[in-house]
């Protein structure tokens, strides 16, 4: 589904991603771990289409080159980014926001806007699916939301937009055990054989709930090791040094 080949990304002359390669197939969950500053969030931003970077290399989604597409076009193609720090948009209700997003994506695909009745039905369904408090949907996007509520709201939006590729950028940061469980639950319910998930995380903890098929370690802009979920446990136990030091010696 997602194919990243030799991706490099720089900002203000500093290279952050240095020839990254990654293949993600439909139905898979990939975890990306690594120490701070390794480029994890940059990877998420670059795939989503954030403007700040000079990008070289190739990113294709289901065979389509998405590097030339604007972020809203990539979203319509099926990319979803659950932000590490979701932004607040005062005065714009969650419902209104999602309605606009859903219909704009439909327009891109040549579909007519969703009938209000159907939209409301879908809204209620997805709210229940991710256990989102009904009251939150009439409030402004993320305004006054606690950290946990913001992350839950991201998963709710994911449920509503039904993406092909979901990238969760440190979704677990700032969450207590209960919130973590609810967020992970939501992600697991949305998983299917037709979509794929990339989970970017610092800690092994989230991966107890969202079981990855593959674990990759991102260090200094490149993936230096890939493995299965056992790799995550090993990292939990030993840290990153044992992987990095041999690298540094080279």
């Amino acid at each position: 589904m997602l194919s990243i080949k030799n991706l490099s990304a720089s900002v203000d002359g500093t290279e952050i991603l240095k020839g990254l390669n990654l293949e993600v197939n439909a139905g898979e969950v990939h975890a990306i771990m690594g120490p701070n500053g390794s480029g994890k969030s940059t990877l998420a931003s670059v795939v989503a289409g954030k403007d700040d970077y000079e990008v070289l290399g190739e990113i294709t989604l289901n065979g389509k080159d998405i590097l030339e597409l604007a972020p809203e076009e990539r979203a319509a193609e099926g990319v979803f980014l659950a932000f590490q720090y979701p932004v607040e948009i005062p005065g714009v209700s969650n419902v209104n926001f999602l309605k606009t997003a859903v219909n704009d994506i439909r327009a891109y695909k040549g579909l007519p806007p969703m009938v209000a009745k159907d939209f409301l039905k879908m809204l209620k369904e997805k709210q229940a699916l991710v256990e989102l408090d009904k009251k939150l949907s009439s409030r402004s996007v993320n305004e006054g939301f606690s950290g946990g509520e913001k992350k839950r709201n991201e998963i709710f939006q994911m449920a509503m937009l039904n993406p092909k590729l979901a990238i969760l950028d440190e979704t677990d940061s700032g969450l207590d055990i209960d919130a973590l469980r609810i967020v992970a639950n939501g992600v697991n319910k949305l998983k299917s054989l037709d979509n794929a998930t990339i989970v970017i995380t610092h800690y092994q903890r989230l991966l107890d709930y969202i079981i990855p098929d593959f674990v990759h370690v991102l260090y200094d802009g490149k993936i230096i090791k890939s493995g299965t979920k056992e790799l995550a446990l090993e990292l939990e136990e030993k840290g990153y040094d044992w992987l990095i030091k041999p690298e540094m010696a080279q």
């Binding site: 989503a48 289409g49 954030k50 403007d51 030339e68 597409l69 604007a70 972020p71 809203e72 076009e73 990539r74 979203a75 319509a76 990319v79 979803f80 980014l81 932000f83 979701p86 932004v87 948009i89 005062p90 005065g91 714009v92 209104n96 926001f97 999602l98 606009t100 997003a101 859903v102 704009d104 994506i105 891109y108 402004s140 939006q157 937009l161």
Partner: protein, 482 residues
């Protein structure tokens, strides 16, 4: 790159036609150009006015001659030549208008273009409409329905003929002709406007609305509106304006007086979309308006406005909180783009005891425009327990425009609680990227965000207006991505 770029937005702006820019070809009878005592006498006689009103006009005219045109720091415009304006223009109706079925067909066509098919109005939305085309009012609808409740709603000219005692009692008591330069001019040459009287204890069941047009080139629009809500009554009044595209500047100097007697409430909403000038800053309406309301005991006046048009705007809808426990509110969204200039705000004068005022002002500046909030909250020495809360926010788009806040807070009583807050911000790139990532393109994102920003004010508008206002906000900001 496939992204929606700033250049593309700019191009759209250039081709965006001012929606309501059209001119009707109805023949209009005009007074000779210029201003003099003779012209005033002519206007007064054309309208068959009683002598006391002619005297009032002449007094105002003489006062105006002694006054100087005001100058404001943040507003620059070519001086108005007052002798280069037609002060009276009446459409020649083809026959006497007694019912809407007999309205001039060209006029009806114009009503259609304005999107206010009167028949539909009558059947569906239950809104009474008074059309002012240039300087004369065409017969109003719904007069019969309102008459049953004793509500008087019609043109100012009609009110002078049919209810002279009411007009004489209240006109000029809130905005005397000595108040300011444009108020004096208006008092001398006003040709029409609306008059509304709600009797004691009556709650007006429908929203009263007025549409304006400036049709002829160089005709200044000098309307005068007077709304009197007698004790315990309620009225919601809507004022919405459109104007055709013109090269010459057009002057609009209106006066609106509101009187809310004991326990009465007046809700006055305005959506203003006068021609703002072209993208080079040429042409456009000058909107200099004096709007003021007086509250007696337990009375309430709220001003709600969405201002997106005019080349130059100068207006400070104000409340005199004379009666104890009276309440004044001001909710405003003012958008300026290209070369527009706005200097608007409000004045809340707390005189009585336990008075309360709320000010929420949201400014949006784009292009090369200047948008200033100028407000006064004055707590008089004897105004015990006064309360005021003001929130003035500015949203800037680009660095060629300006957003300014000049609040004057004068407190002479120790029991007052006055709070004023102002913030300036821009639309965050992060916010736009967030919307993009959810499939919403940049232009739509900006519309969403600006409407969200203005929500507190838009919520105060009556439904029909709120929808038009949202569309107006979006149109007026096209091409101004931050």
């Amino acid at each position: 790159m496939g992204k929606y770029t700033e250049e593309q937005l700019e191009k759209e702006l250039e081709t965006q036609e001012y929606k309501y820019g059209f001119v009707t070809d109805i023949e209009t009878e005009k007074a000779p150009i210029g201003l003099s005592e003779d012209i005033i006498r002519l206007i007064s006689s054309k309208k068959n006015e009683p002598n006391w009103l002619l005297e009032y006009r002449l007094k105002a005219y003489n006062a105006w001659l002694t006054m100087k045109e005001p100058e404001w720091a943040h507003v620059n415009y070519p001086k108005v030549n007052f002798q280069d304006i037609y002060y009276y223009a009446a459409p020649k109706p083809k026959k006497q208008l007694s019912s809407l079925d007999e309205v001039d067909s060209e006029l009806l066509e114009m009503y259609d273009k304005l999107g206010i098919s009167i028949d539909e109005q009558k059947k569906l939305s239950n809104v009474a409409v008074d059309i002012v085309m240039d300087s004369v009012s065409v017969k109003t609808t719904f007069q019969d329905t309102l008459a049953k409740l004793g509500i008087i709603f019609g043109s100012f000219s009609d009110a002078v003929q049919n209810h002279p005692e009411l007009v004489k009692k209240y006109m000029g008591t809130i905005v005397p002709y000595t108040d300011n330069y444009y108020a004096a001019l208006n008092a001398a040459v006003f040709t029409d406007g609306s008059f509304c009287y709600i009797p004691k204890g009556v709650k007006c069941p429908m929203e009263l609305s007025t549409y304006f047009r400036i049709n002829e080139a160089q005709t200044g629009q000098f309307e005068r509106t007077l709304v009197v809500a007698d004790q315990g009554s309620y009225v919601s009044y809507l004022e919405g304006c459109t104007a055709p595209m013109r090269d010459e500047n057009q002057l609009h100097a209106a006066v609106v007086e509101l009187i809310a007697l004991d326990d009465a409430e007046i809700k006055y909403s305005t959506v203003q979309n006068w021609y703002p000038g072209d993208k080079e800053g040429k042409g456009g309406i000058y909107n200099f308006v004096t709007k003021r309301g007086l509250c007696e005991k337990n009375a309430k006046i709220s001003w709600t406005q969405v201002e997106t048009g005019s080349a130059v705007t100068w207006k400070y809808p104000s409340c005199i909180l004379k009666g104890d426990n009276s309440v004044g509110e001001f909710y405003s969204v003012a958008v300026t783009n290209n070369f527009q200039q706005a200097d608007t705000g409000t004045k809340m004068l707390h005189l009585g005891k336990n008075t309360k005022s709320t000010i929420i002002s949201k400014g949006v500046s784009a292009g090369g425009s200047q948008n200033s909030y100028r407000g006064l909250v004055k707590i008089n020495k004897n105004a015990t327990n006064a309360r005021n809360f003001s929130q003035c926010d500015s949203l800037l788009m680009g660095n060629k425009c300006g957003a300014h806040t000049f609040p004057y807070i004068e407190v002479d009583n120790k029991s007052a609680k006055v709070e004023h807050e102002a913030t300036t911000s821009k639309i965050g790139e992060d916010q736009i990227f967030y919307c993009n990532q959810r499939g919403i393109d940049t232009e739509s994102a900006i519309k969403l965000i600006v409407n969200g920003y203005a929500k507190d004010v838009l919520n105060k508008l009556p439904m029909e207006f709120a929808v038009e206002a949202q569309k107006l906000l979006a149109i007026s900001l096209e091409g101004s991505v931050g």
